[in-house]
Symmetry: C2
Subunit: 100 residues, 2 copies
């Protein structure tokens, strides 16, 4: 499993419109092959910052699958105009850390 | 539920030692009152960057509870010397976004 991570800086004053657009966009990402889960949360300390976390089977499922799909064009049209600056997307690999 | 979020920039070359220390530190945070879950993952694109995500009952459980506890002194001694720069910790509130 790979975790897609993006801190989303939404233009101040556009938060409600962004949430409406994201409500439309989340089913698009969730239905992608290899997408296990996608959730959005809102920052307590910086109310215009949101966090997108999506679990994928692999980085390829996200980058080669979703990003090259027609669905991605819809995702992009719904969301990208809300961001300033444009977010950096990173991937994280869970670490099973134990003392054994 | 509140999500504690921190991107952890570990000094390059110290990743293995950090992971050993984090294996010792995770049980400390997980046993705090109000801590529901704590996970660490490692960035694919920037191998010295880790992501800490911890679920808490409330911001207060984290900030007034854990951060003022003796356990926090142990957490700090184990981990803080690995970071450069020191991480920014933020809290996020999950949004149930739907079109209904």
């Amino acid at each position: 499993m790979i975790l897609e991570h993006a801190l989303l800086p939404v233009r101040p004053g556009r938060e409600a419109a962004f949430e409406t657009a994201m409500a439309e966009a989340l089913p698009i990402i969730r239905r992608q092959p290899g997408c296990l889960r996608a959730e959005v949360s809102r920052c307590v300390e910086q109310a215009s910052t949101y966090l997108l976390l999506a679990e994928w089977d692999s980085v390829e499922a996200h980058e080669d699958g979703f990003r090259r799909s027609e669905d991605y064009q819809e995702w992009r049209a719904l969301l990208h105009h809300f961001y300033d600056p444009f977010p950096t997307v990173l991937h994280f690999e869970p670490r099973e850390l134990s003392l054994d």
